[in-house]
Amino acid sequence: MKKKLVAVLMTAAMAATLAACGTEPETENTPADTNVTVAPDGETTDVVVGQGSEDAIANLIAATEGTVDLTLWCSETEAYQNVMAQLVDEFKAAYSDVDFNITIGSQSESTCKDEVLKDVEAAADVYVFADDQLNGLVEAGALQAVTTTYTYNPIEADGAGAVNAASKDGILYAYPLTATNGYFLYYDSNLLSDEDVSSWENLVAACEREGKKVAMEFSGGWYLFSFFYGAGLECNNLANDAVNVCNWNNETGLAVAKSVQDICSSDAVINLGDADTCTQVTDGNVIAAVNGTWNTGVFEAAYGDGFAATKLPTFNVNGQAVQQGSFAGYKLVGVNSYSDNLGWAMIFAEFITNEASQLKIGNATQEGPANLVAAPQIATPAIAALGAQSNFATLQRVAGNYWTPAGTLGQALYEGGLDDAGLQKALDDAVDGICAE
């Protein structure tokens, strides 16, 4: 398989050399540019993307007969659906020589992989998914590798973290769309001061003082990870896609678990799922919550002029303040390798992820673009908070066995009442489950 891809790259390079034209001066004489990206946690990936020619598109237009049917799956939220519909119209206008029939389906990007894998052949041609699904989708052969691009180069245009998240083994598999699919802390600055939100200890005390709550989904693996990662422990599948490596049950891990259990023992701390968080925030019970950009609107409406966001607080491990970590999350646009109109699917995916489109999506959804030029133009407190948190964030690279045991560990810590031996056992059990083959 690898060999074939090299061959593809060679072809791409040759094609570009032969047919290079002056639209993108930087790449005019460098048929395939190399880019080295550095992931937040220091892992290095070489990603190479060949530059296709404008002629290729012209040829494609000429070779296209009849109507081109494309299906796009993107988030079910109104903002996404509307902006995508607008982009589809623009795409049709940009390639007015071809007759397109583009259908937009609503499919939450957090469960996109499951839907795609049920029947890859019947899935959408182009779909938006969360970056943690990349490995599974690549393994199932559901993603067309982005070995050549035609209208812009994602590696140059998008942030290094996003490109890294969209790559596997040095091959880019998807077009980065947003860079803010992670989490941070929302709070009501009318009730909580900067000092209050700097550490969990202060935060809990402040909420007790106000008689209100701070919410986080402790019983979800996605959020619970933040404590252990913050304390420098590891849990990932970098060595082997299918198996996690996890050391949460060592001494530090025990201290972290103890600390989390302490935090949860306060009545001011509640374990809330996403939907409940929104309800409770709206009802005014929750004045601080660990959550993400997708709920910005809810918090903004509830907190009014007190609306604020910041990086996650520190917490206490063995008497030392440790910054809580997090998962950095990206939304990516993938092209289904089983698509009947692979060429147009790729051009379309490029179109909806280019700088102008990302900016429009950012404006419509309040999510931060992955594009380096567009990103600074979308400035909200939430995105700023995520930016601050990104220094302590890592890519979400865990195998499927992580989620249920981690959620169960979180549930046990939240329910509380465990002594050292009990905590150690809970951690051992969780690690056994997480690392199972």
Partner: protein, 474 residues
Amino acid sequence: MKNFLQAIKKYFVDLGTAIVKGDIWTKLSLVIFGAGYIGHGQVIKGLLVTALEAGIILFTGKISWPYIAKLDSLGTVQREMVLDPVTFQKVENDYDNSLLILLMGVLGIIIIAAFVFFLISNVKSNYRIQKLKEEGKHVNSFLEDLKSLVNEKFHITLLTLPSIGVIFMCILPIVFMICIAFTNYDAAHQPPSNLFTWVGMKNFINMFSSKGGGSYGYTFARLLTWTLIWAALATFTTYIGGILLALLINHENTKLKKLWRSLFVITISIPQFVTLLLISKMFSNFGIINGILSNIGVTGALQKMGWITTDYIPFMTQKGWTHVMIVLINIWIGVPYQMLSATGILLNIPSEQLESARIDGANKWQIFWKITMPYVLFITGPSLVTSFIGNINNFNVIYLLTGDYVTADASLAASNAKDVDLLITWLFRITADSPKMEYYMASVIGIFVFVVCAVLSLITFSNMIKGDREEVFR
């Protein structure tokens, strides 16, 4: 058993006789199915049968044989695809799809089996006609054959279409899924991009040994116990509740019977998933019930009593609480149904019996315990088993109510189960909610559920089908 063996013996002896004693036409019908009919004067029937034979052979040769041939390995050629970045042409190899191979292979084999069966009965039928002719008896014309299809052979007409439906929508999927239990079909071996293959009994061994990824054996035992407890509780509570409610409504002192009945029936008429999701939201940790209970001080009281440690009642998120809630909510769901059917039964109690009891001076309680209850039990006994089995497979109630539940048991978590899962919801979670999508494990669990249910129902229904009970009321 002995009868069964004898029946099999007779089946083949008949076949042997037909072949040995058959004339040339009958013998020829082994190869060309219609030959015997044509030779004995039934030309149209002969042609039709031959056409059917040709169709089956053509289907097997052209369509299903390539798949059957690959059944032993379930395919060897993995998909490879290359996209030309200049012309956008994609070049795909001729790859194998294990899923299609298994599906079409199974279908092909079913059709071949049917073909053999068809062949045997065809020869016998030809021999019968030959004998009829030899004895100088009447041989049916084609028109007469057609007529018999709406008369003494009407059952064939009636059963053909439903059977085809059942073969495609029940038998084929069942055989397919049973086969899956012996393969390694999961997320890592998912067609069309990847292949899966046979692994023998490995999955069954995994299920009952506690090592390996999740401790399946432990989970299986835990969930089987809960499934049986749940099925017993759910069946019993709704059954008794339904009968009591029906008695209450149908009592002579109750006015507006129809109104009361309608009030309860309204709850049935809202789709179950709507009411279940609604109720699960009502009872969620921060739902309306918890809000009201905490306002009126119940939550505080429970906290003082040490029943709960949280400042809400974990109706749907803690074991124990959730187990009880599910049974209670199921009563809410199930009692109106039972009430309806119990009403029908109560209205149908033979009035002579009641009259004569009354004349004998029995009081109301005596009548209830001596006549009404035995009658109701007698009639609804078998339906209890049906609803017991229905509850073992009660997917909706459990799945929709436990969406927010997170188990605190690491062993269960490792095999993607929750304390409140039934086997049936567990197998669904394994395929749909777990990223590993272990279809093979789901299939193993499914087979066990199937065996439990099939044995239970066979015991019950064989009594019903066997013997002459069918004729009792005629």
